[in-house]
């Protein structure tokens, strides 16, 4: 049994038929072939599958594809600038060596995109607390924190949100 859903993914209208038990991450990865969204635990702890659903950072392993009907979704494939260059947060990630294997990176980018948009005034302690819902086994987090704080400083000085 399949259900029809209609949604927007990275600015494009998508209509699809999905099985009720398929979660949103599997739908994105396997039906839309957007393999940039990664699955680390499929029980809502590691945060690797985090994407933006209607602007909010959401774990796509804990949401069924059918629940995404009518939503506006942004994945890592949709984060770049319109000319294809890296956005401010992606650029800062590269500069601060905020990724190693890169598997958790899509989730961190999504989580931080929301944080930086909503709270560019955030300080390090609070940022670290907010990031505790995303696990990285490679970097030890300091590059990620440094990158985010640099972008936050830029925003406070009048830059645009990633």
């Amino acid at each position: 049994m399949h259900h029809p859903i209609t949604l927007t993914v990275n600015g494009r209208a998508v209509t699809a038929e999905v099985e009720p038990r398929v979660h949103l991450a599997d739908f994105l990865r396997h039906q839309l072939n957007l393999t940039g969204t990664h699955l680390g635990c499929e029980h809502g702890v590691c945060g690797a599958c985090t994407i933006l659903v209607d602007g909010d950072a959401v774990r796509s392993c804990l949401m069924l594809a059918v629940q995404a009907d009518g939503t506006d979704i942004v994945t890592i494939e949709g984060l770049q600038e319109s000319d294809g260059t890296l956005n401010a947060l992606q650029t800062a990630f590269r500069k601060h060596h905020a990724l190693q294997c890169g598997f958790c990176t899509p989730g961190f980018l999504a989580t931080l995109t929301q944080i930086l948009r909503d709270r560019p005034e955030i300080e390090e302690d609070e940022l670290r607390g907010e990031l505790s819902g995303n696990l990285c086994r490679c970097t030890g987090y300091s590059g990620i924190v440094d990158a985010a704080l640099e972008v936050a400083r830029g925003l406070r000085q009048g830059g645009t949100a990633p």
């Binding site: 029980h43 590691c46 984060l79 190693q100 086994r137 490679c138 970097t139």
Partner: protein, 784 residues
């Protein structure tokens, strides 16, 4: 050769794809018609399999195949996976079978596989495979497993001793006779897990036209997997290609060859369609190898001044149910103990013990964290016994740098005498002491205590054998486009290998780094390979890239010199051309030379020059290169809750020449994070029947951004004389002494309670127990 890139904090060439969702991990590789596997795993730690009924499962929707051990192809049936690191000390080379035949020896061991049109359908059908298990007596406890009447972990065995290892040198008995002080400790240390954020993954297809397999695997060692497949399937070496595409972290466990990596290709051939299996996190915590369960019982002899005289003891190593990577971890543990110290006599007896748990093999640090923990805890206890400062007792015993190279008196795991090649251990410790404010810390500690805060500092030193051989190779080639291509069979799991290799080649050819492409992890790209482990790739592949690039550069110069009728010394490389230096005439682009030498009819190579702008070199180091470091941790402990916070963490690190400080610091920061997990977070719990109970990331705690501080890192560079680029490995040093330094700091913070901590990890509830025990002990002393 110019050095524009070597030593510079070059941003990574890997990042662009990974930051935009264009990475290609195994599960991102999509082949038409792919079927999906789900494994049926043992729910018992030890049981006999009396039968398997898969008839129902075979009839379920979408199911294409159900395989049990007895359904495997005849050449595989009853065979075990190749033991890649044999050792005569191993009593019985028990590795896993692709599917358990008549006995399961740990919870999670694969028993059958279901292949279906989707993973959902495969898992549905796996539920319908009925296995008739007859539970057998279980041995889960390491200390109990060595008793004469212990339950055997394997039913056919009379004991659980997988190996005995004895190492040592000097006259230990004499050392203890003449000692002014002897300190003793029993130090249990716990297994941890790798837990890369990408779990294991394998995709296989069989090409009937060429009678050959292609296997994509999230492996650290494509050539190792290829060897295992060739061995167990009894096929020619040319009939398997293994590709490790982007791999989402490894940390050791992805080095092993697993049953799933054998069974999935077999199914792909039987069905004539690609088959994929992606491990889920529960499977990872059940069936991916772990490390670190050891119990050390140690005695340290010192003279009246705190100089070490001798060390002796016994270590038990929990091997789990099988020995897939031999006894490397306990062996490395046993020879890492002396560390950076002058230790005149040493004797350690190690028992490697089978239990009914998932096997243990090297995990970031590979036996070294436990050895360093044992030595450093003993030194802290000795400092207490002698009334010395903890840094001072270490300082008195550090090997003076004038004594380099320093023969320890042991044989390392590469079979070569354990000789430290270079290093300045006193300088490293002195720098750590200085940067951490060690000498003024007691004042800060007293001031904090006056406010009711318990803070402490701990110090730990280590020496790490890195860059092990036997070899790793690299090919450098100038392509007809003029771009430079580097290829190595060893895989990368996030370390930035492509970047550092490209740095070396870009310098050699005097080109921009964007002109260099790097392919890693494909057995088709180079005939031989070993793998990513033992912090070995910078030494082995880096040196191979350096040497093979130099060979191609020389060839470019020879060809240009012949063409322009000048001496080779008058030729230089610049802007992708090879040209006569300081002259207007005579330049060839790399592309032109590549096309000429690549088989252009009518072009004759100068005499003595082989075709192609290509060279392969396999660097084989004469022995391991020994990195070292000194760590200081500063923590705050809440004695009410047992909660621990790392306030500061200082690392002084010597990995020889630093090729890219951005990347080395990333390795150290990440390594320390792993060590923090081992110190007070990560505990793989089993019930009394050896059932794992921490099988989700909600139960097994990994360090998060709120827990891991920014590490303050200082480099000391003692170039290794053992390779052409002077490097040593840097991937594991961050982890190795971290638990030792942190536990020392916790103990220091809790000095007012007199707590002694000889175990890792130390979780809050256990810390509260120790505080209560110490308080009870103190009350007893006061009453007496």
């Amino acid at each position: 050769m110019t050095t524009r890139y070597f030593g510079a904090p070059v941003q990574r060439v890997e990042d662009q794809a990974l930051l935009t969702g264009k990475g290609r991990f195994t599960d991102d590789v999509k082949l038409p018609g792919t079927l999906h596997a789900a494994f049926v795993r043992s729910p018992y730690a030890h049981a006999r399999i009396n039968g398997i009924d898969a008839d129902t499962a075979r009839t379920l929707p979408g199911v294409k195949l159900v395989l049990t051990a007895s359904d495997l192809p005849t050449q595989v049936r009853g065979k075990r996976i190749l033991l890649q690191v044999p050792n005569p000390a191993i009593t019985e080379p028990l590795t896993q079978m692709p599917l358990a035949l008549d006995e399961v020896c740990f919870v999670g061991e694969p028993v059958a596989v279901v292949i279906a049109e989707s993973r959902h359908l495969a898992e549905d059908a796996a539920e319908a495979v009925f296995v008739d298990y007859e539970p057998l007596p279980i041995i889960g406890d390491l200390a109990a497993a060595i008793a004469a009447d212990a339950n055997p972990a394997h039913a056919h065995r009379s004991d659980n001793i997988a190996a005995r290892i004895q190492v040592g040198y000097g006259d230990v008995a004499l050392a203890f006779q003449s000692a002014a002080h002897v300190v003793s400790a029993t130090l249990p240390q716990h297994r941890g897990t790798g837990n890369p954020i990408e779990c294991r993954a394998v995709l296989a297809m069989f090409d009937m036209v060429h009678d050959a397999f292609t296997v994509w695997s999230a492996t650290q060692a494509p050539h190792g997997l290829k060897r295992a497949l060739v061995d167990i399937l009894d096929i020619p070496d040319t009939a398997v290609r293994v590709i490790a595409p982007d791999v989402g972290g490894g940390f050791g466990p992805k080095l092993q060859v697993y049953p799933e990596e054998i069974v999935v290709p077999i199914c792909a051939k039987l069905l004539g369609l690609p088959v994929k299996w992606i491990e889920d996190r529960r499977e990872h915590l059940l069936s991916t190898v772990q490390e670190r369960d050891q119990i050390w019982t140690m005695h340290l002899a010192l003279d009246a001044d705190g100089k070490l005289l001798g060390l002796r003891g016994q270590m038990l190593h929990d091997q789990g149910a099988y020995v897939p990577w031999g006894i490397i971890s306990p062996y490395i543990s046993s020879v890492t103990v002396p560390g950076p110290y002058v230790l005149p006599a040493y004797k350690l007896e190690t028992l490697v013990v089978f239990t009914n748990k998932v096997p243990t093999t090297p995990l970031r640090g590979a036996g070294r964290p436990q050895a360093v923990f044992a030595m450093e805890r003993l030194l802290d206890h000795a400092a207490d016994a002698l009334g010395l400062d903890r840094a001072e007792i270490r300082r008195r015993n550090l090997i003076p740098t004038e004594q380099m190279p320093y023969p320890v008196g042991l044989i390392f795991r590469d079979g070569k005498p354990l000789v430290y090649d270079s290093g300045d251990y006193p300088r490293c410790q002195a720098l750590a002491v200085e940067k951490s404010g060690w000498e003024t810390f007691p004042e800060r500690q007293r001031a904090a205590l006056a406010q009711g805060r318990y803070i402490g500092q701990g110090i730990a030193n280590y020496v790490e054998g890195t860059g092990l051989g036997p070899f790793e190779g690299a090919t450098t080639q100038v392509l007809p486009s003029g771009r430079i291509l580097l290829r190595t069979g060893s895989a990368a799991q996030g370390q930035g290998n492509q970047t550092v290799y490209a740095q070396i080649a870009a310098d050699a050819f005097n080109v921009d780094i964007t002109q260099v492409d790097v392919e890693v992890g494909d057995t088709a790209s180079i005939p031989l390979g070993v793998g990513a482990f033992a912090s070995r790739l910078m030494v082995n592949v880096g040196s191979s890239v350096s040497i093979s690039s130099a060979a191609v550069v020389k060839k470019l110069k020879q060809i240009a010199a012949a063409r322009f009728e000048v001496s080779e010394d008058d030729i230089e490389l610049a802007d992708g051309t090879v040209r006569v230096a300081a002259s207007q005439g005579g330049a060839l682009t790399f592309a032109e030379v590549a096309r000429m030498t690549g088989g252009m009819p009518g072009f004759s190579l100068p005499e003595g020059i082989e075709p192609g702008l290509v060279s392969t070199h396999y660097f084989a180091p004469p022995q391991a290169a020994y990195a070292n470091g000194s760590h200081v941790a500063e923590v705050e402990v809440d004695p009410e809750t047992g909660m621990i916070k790392v306030l500061r963490y200082i690392v002084v690190h010597d990995c020889g020449k630093v090729v890219n400080p951005l990347l080395v610091e990333g390795q150290i920061q990440g390594g320390v994070a792993h060590g923090i997990g081992n110190a007070f977070l990560e505990k793989m719990r089993f019930d009394e029947d050896a059932n794992p109970v921490t099988t989700s990331l909600a139960d097994y705690m990994l360090p998060d951004a709120g827990i891991v501080p920014k590490v303050e890192i200082y480099h000391v560079e003692s170039p290794s004389p053992l390779n052409p680029i002077g490097v040593k490995g840097a991937g594991e040093g961050g982890t190795i002494p971290a638990a030792a330094a942190i536990v020392s700091a916790i103990e220091d913070a809790l000095k007012p309670f007199g707590v002694r901590i000889d175990e890792a990890p130390i979780l809050p509830e256990r810390l509260c127990e120790l505080i209560d025990e110490a308080a009870a002990g103190n009350a007893l002393k006061e009453t007496a």
